[in-house]
Amino acid sequence: MAVIPVSRKPLSFAERTYIPQILGGLKITFKRMLKPAETMEYPEQRPEIPKHYRGVPTLVKDPNGREKCVSCQLCEFVCPPKAIRITPGEIPLDAPTGHVEKAPQAFDIDMLRCIYCGLCQEVCPEEAIFLQNQYSMTGYTRAEMVNHKDRLYELGGTLPDQHHKWDKKKAAEEHGNAH
């Protein structure tokens, strides 16, 4: 690399007294003082959540209100901090969603462990777990910081997903073999 010697400009007398610089600085800070504050005052003002924000992981239901999770436990497997804990369970055959066969008996996400990486959402084959806009999780005890299944569905709500994979399957079952 070529070395380019740059001569340093000697300071003028005024500069060496610091005073013009100090006055300049004071001018800047004074102007700044008269402008409104930039701070967002959090609980009253909320930031606009950008699209694809990764907030608290939640479970969602499909437009028909069926819980989408089939407890395949892939999220539990992929979760780097091991925050997810699922107890799989069987859906009774006579239930409306009996053809899905499997649903979580318990689904716990320990928000003290969760790192909001979004791998659970990425890995989910049923598109049942989403990191949504909720970013503020608080609690007084460790137990409170564990989101159970009910709370996860409450946070997640319903997502307008139009796949209806399992409904199609049920229709095929009722319709029989199309050969």
């Binding site: 089939v70 407890s71 395949c72 436990q73 892939l74 539990e76 497997f77 799989p88 369970g89 069987e90 055959l93 053809h99 899905v100 066969e101 499997k102 084959p125 049923e126 399957k169 095929a172 079952e173 319709h175 029989g176 073999n177 199309a178 050969h179």
Partner: protein, 568 residues
């Protein structure tokens, strides 16, 4: 140990690698020896070959010879003998190694074949991996990763077949997932000798089903689940319990009988979810009985002993050991060992017996063998007691000798290592007459009557060895941590030996094996750590005259002496 006969070797060439394999080895097995995986569904090393899945198609060829002179034809381009490749692919499972056989598994044609087979298999597959218990150990999943196309060209409706069929009390069938490999049918017919399964209908309507009015309910039905390459047959007990990729595998031994079937215990975070067989061609091939698969439930049984008790009151281990030592001081001790204890425990029981100069008894459990993997002797380790010298003769089912001694007042204290004395023929009055020190896992009449109760561990919570009916030393390892309040049998026994004045003996299993190797001649050359997974056969001649109860089972024939006695 008897040297196996030298098999006749033939040399084959697989993907350019030469290997000598025993004659009769098929191409899949030969390829496995050079580290080449030939995908397959219907082929199973322990079942008859049918060749109906077509997944193992490979290219084959033989060295060219001049038909007239039988002289090798040399390829001028390479200077080597020319290979006459068969223009069409052949199935690997149905072809045995022949001298000079050349096999190619990595050509475009082979790849095309595999991809074609996969695409056809997947057109009607429900693709419900998220709810399928086989996910993670599914051959279809694995091959789809290698040879699947990632999307489906099939736009018609998929087949609908019965899901959640109960084939038997322990097996659930999902016909949509079935790839019609017929492994389960062959197993039921050839191994379990219970020919209840079969296909009905044709083409894509083919459906696996039970013979009308019958059920898949033999004691080996769950092996069909193990060998099912996809998720069609699943275990009802394990259904939706846990995904297999979370489970830790620990090698263990089936304790049902003296066959000592090799098993794998699948556990997660201290809880066992299932037990499956482990391949051991000398003992159980790849099978095990259904009854052995539910034994893990005893770990969390309701009547588990979880606290040390002296006269019914909770106490500490050392206090209880001291209380037992006080009982020993009075003399006239008898010891009841167990054929369910490991070799190490029996060795320490013998130490305790010699220290106390007490006679050692054993209780035998003899039932009916099923000629497959459950033998007549339902104790897994009677031969271990013989090898360690705890007993010299075969035990009887009832402790009549001990009962007589108690009645005569010759015995004041009985140490029972895991045996329920009441079940072994001692009356309540006899139990009340003596002071009992009971080491065991479950509450029973003996533990209720015992002066000192020392809770110990089940076979899944500790390591050790069993000697099976072939005099094969096989080891089992600790799968899950011990129950709270229970102590390793070895620790308890070592403490008892020390309290009885027998000096300090190691209770850690590897250290203990040094002592065992030094004191038991038959085990003199072994260490616990180096014991192979398939076990080590001992020389059975010192005990060949004993009339063992076992009849013939898989890979076991009783010796003549025993047969004579049984037959007479």
């Amino acid at each position: 140990m008897i040297a196996p006969p030298k098999p006749e070797l033939v040399t084959v060439n697989i993907d350019g690698k030469e290997i000598a394999v025993p004659k009769g080895t098929n191409v899949i097995e030969a390829a496995r020896l050079v580290g080449v995986d030939v995908p397959h569904y219907c082929y199973h090393p322990k079942l008859a070959i049918v060749g109906n899945c077509r997944m193992c198609l490979v290219e084959m060829g033989m060295p060219a010879v001049d038909p007239a002179t039988k002289a090798p034809v040399i390829d001028p381009a390479t200077g080597k003998q020319k290979i006459n490749w068969i223009p069409r692919p052949q199935i690997g499972c149905g072809t045995n190694a022949a001298p000079g056989l050349h096999i190619r598994t990595n050509t475009p044609m082979v790849k095309d074949c595999r991809e074609g087979v996969m695409e056809f298999l997947l057109i009607n597959h429900p693709l419900d991996c998220p709810i399928c218990d086989q996910a993670g150990e599914c051959k279809l999943q694995e091959q789809a990763t290698g040879y699947g196309r990632g999307y489906s060209r099939f736009i018609e409706q998929k087949n609908v077949k019965p899901k959640r069929t109960q084939l038997g009390p322990r097996v659930t069938l999902d016909d949509e997932r079935c790839v019609l490999c017929s492994r389960c049918i062959r197993f039921s017919r050839d191994i379990a000798k219970d020919d209840v399964l079969g296909f009905i209908d044709r083409g894509s309507h083919s459906t696996l089903t039970c013979y009308p009015g019958k059920k898949l309910e033999n004691n080996y039905s769950l092996n069909t689940v193990d060998i099912c390459p996809v998720g069609a047959l699943t275990s009802t007990d394990f259904r939706f319990k846990m995904r297999v990729w979370f489970l830790k595998q620990t090698n263990s031994i089936d304790t049902e009988s003296s066959v000592g079937a090799n098993t794998v215990v699948w556990s997660r975070e201290g809880a066992i979810y299932r037990i499956t067989p482990r391949r051991n061609d000398e003992v159980n091939d790849t099978w095990m009985a259904d009854t052995g698969r539910v034994l893990y439930k005893q770990v969390k049984a309701d009547n588990r002993l979880t606290s040390v008790k002296i006269n019914g009151a909770d106490s500490g281990l050392d206090i209880a050991v001291n209380a037992a030592a006080e009982l020993f001081k009075a003399g006239s001790v008898a010891i009841v060992g167990s054929g369910r204890s490991s070799v190490e425990e029996q060795f320490l029981t013998r130490k305790l017996a010699t220290t106390l100069k007490a006679p050692a008894h054993l209780v035998s459990r003899v039932g009916e063998g099923d000629r497959l993997l459950i033998s007549a002797d339902r104790n897994p380790n009677v031969r271990g007691a013989l090898v360690t010298g705890l007993i010299a003769a075969l035990p009887s089912a009832q402790l009549t000798e001990l009962a007589a001694q108690i009645d005569a007042g010759k015995v004041k204290t009985v140490v029972s290592v895991g045996e329920d004395l009441a079940a072994a023929g001692l009356s309540a009055a006899q139990l009340a007459k003596v002071a009992i020190v009971y080491l065991g896992t479950y509450a029973n009449e003996t533990s209720a009557a015992a002066r000192v109760v020392l809770p110990t561990l089940t076979v899944f919570e500790k390591g050790g060895t069993f000697v099976n009916q072939q005099f094969r030393v096989q080891k089992f390892l600790k799968a899950v941590p011990g129950a709270e309040g229970a102590t390793d049998d070895l620790v308890v026994l070592a403490k008892l030996v020390a309290a009885a004045g027998g000096g300090s003996v190691p209770s850690e299993i590897n250290t203990l094996w040094k002592t065992i190797a030094a004191e038991v001649p038959a085990l003199g050359t072994m260490t616990f750590a180096n014991l192979p997974e398939t076990g080590l056969l001992l020389d059975a001649t010192p005990w060949s005259a004993l009339p063992f109860a076992e009849g013939e089972t898989l890979h076991y024939k009783p010796t003549k002496a025993a047969q004579l006695v049984v037959g007479s």
